[in-house]
Amino acid sequence: MSKEWEPRIVAFFCTWCTYTAADLAGISRMTYAPNARIIRVMCSGRIDPQFVLKAFHDGADGVLIGGCHPGDCHYQAGNYKALRRYTLLKRVLTEMGIEPERLRLEWISASEGDRVQKVMNEMAETIRKLGPLPLERPLPQPLPETERGAVPLTSPWPSPYTEREGVRLGLRGR
């Protein structure tokens, strides 16, 4: 049995603006493409580029990031951080052969339920046109995360360099 392919989108929404807007869209009974799995984060500045890559790694075809409009961040500057990371990450993705449209950043305030509807529909449409994102899985799989580099925070493996030595190795002419 073959099921028709549907775009899988992971949407990271900040809890103060875009997630609230998505709530509003729901309460207002707006319908939009059901392709996105929304993940609520406290701030778009919390979105580590690793989250985006992990989403792609685990089978997402597109990633949407939603945050407050510039100047409106609940934590003052989180959305600017998101913007800077997004700009650089997008360049890296493009160089790695991944279409830049697969990653999208949108500013959506808590009152813009209609905008959530519009962006979600557009994103689903964009990804549908691009098709699935096939990533190569190296085989055999690397060690499970628990085994790979599972070291407690206080590593039993101390630095072989004493602080003094670091300084001695360091600055010339001191």
């Binding site: 890296v92 990533l135 493996w157």
Partner: protein, 341 residues
């Protein structure tokens, strides 16, 4: 009682890791006193058949450097895994993929086309490319070459690995620590990277000159500026990856006025080095204007080569499977040296 046996092997690597072993200097005598080196192609005349003749698990430890690109390297990795009690990924290439791993931006076809046909220095009107099999006309003998895979892989993407010695090449002190730990049987849990689990900034000799809040208005490359030998390199606008990189090297590059390029890889809490490194740098950019931010980011000439210099095969994305013909699937950016410079 006979001494424990150890082996060294190289896969897709430059030979720098072998240099690091030689850099042990007189300490190598202590190593030779304590163990028997029974396989080390770069220095000693042992053959693959000598390894095959060993019992399974007869090697106490085997240090493998280099990434895995060809079928021969896969076979050797599997053979050495079988013969060794401890398999140690030695150096950036076997740990994270290393510089050879950057070839994962292309596939086999694209690499062969460029190297044997399209490169400006190549004259090859008959289009001769290496063949995996060639039948010799006269005596019917068939010559074979190992198969060149589409992707570069890390050692742990090929066989199970017990420990990692990071670095390009691994710092001598870390090698000594690791060898001592193996001999004294004082090893940490399996899968550990045998280096301190802190960022390089912690042991950086310029640590005290780092401002409380770094804010970059410009990103410079080392040849574009006169570098102050004492001040934090990031504070000077140089792209130093110290904040995202594991310590343990003693910061020789930073001490020599060169920014850290991240060869020791991430600390244990980070799963994707490049993503974390780019996140660290992007966060330091001092701008809130979309266009200015884009312009500042453009100053990073080669983002993948900068942030994934040693870890592209180990990245979460690993690589995209090209569903287009390989020539059109090349990265959008032209990577000819002329354009980079």
């Amino acid at each position: 009682m006979s001494k424990p046996k150890v082996g060294f092997y190289w896969c897709a690597s430059c030979g720098g890791c072998e240099e690091a072993v030689v850099d042990l200097a007189e300490d190598i005598l202590k190593v030779v006193e304590a163990v028997d080196i029974v396989f080390w192609p770069v220095a000693l005349d042992f053959k693959r058949s000598d390894v095959e003749a060993l019992r399974d698990g007869e090697l106490a430890a085997c240090f493998v450097n280099g990434a895995i690109r060809t079928s021969e390297q896969e076979e050797m990795a599997e053979l050495l895994r079988r013969k060794s009690q401890l398999l140690i990924a030695f150096g950036s290439c076997s740990h994270l993929g290393g510089v050879p791993g950057l070839a994962n931006l292309w596939d086999r076809q694209a690499i062969f086309d460029y190297v044997y046909k399209e490169a400006p220095s190549v004259t090859n009107p008959e289009g001769v490319v290496p063949q995996e099999q060639t039948k010799l006309g006269s005596n019917g003998y068939t010559l074979t070459l190992p198969s060149f895979r589409d992707s570069v892989r890390t050692l742990d993407q090929t066989v199970e690995v017990d420990y990692y010695l990071p670095g390009c090449p691994p710092p001598v002190k870390l090698i000594v620590n690791a060898v001592t730990a193996i001999l004294e049987n004082k090893l940490p849990p399996k899968g550990t990277v045998l280096a301190p689990d802190k960022a390089l900034c912690e042991e950086c000799p310029r640590k005290l000159t780092k401002p409380d809040k770094l804010a970059l208005k410009e990103l410079k490359r080392p040849h574009q500026t006169l570098i102050d030998p004492e001040k934090c390199l990031l504070a000077q606008g140089l792209l130093c990856l110290g904040p995202a990189t594991r310590s343990g090297c003693g910061a020789p590059c930073v001490s020599a006025n060169m920014p850290c390029t991240g060869c020791l890889g991430p600390t244990s809490r980070v799963k994707d080095y490049g993503a974390k490194a780019l996140s660290a740098i992007a966060s330091l950019i001092d701008s809130e204007d979309e266009r200015e931010i884009a312009a500042l980011m453009e100053q990073i000439v080669d983002p993948v080569g900068t942030f994934y210099r040693y870890s592209l095969p180990a990245s979460l994305l690993h690589r995209r499977i090209r569903n287009l013909s390989s020539s059109s699937a090349k990265p959008a950016k032209a990577n000819s040296p002329d354009e980079v410079w």
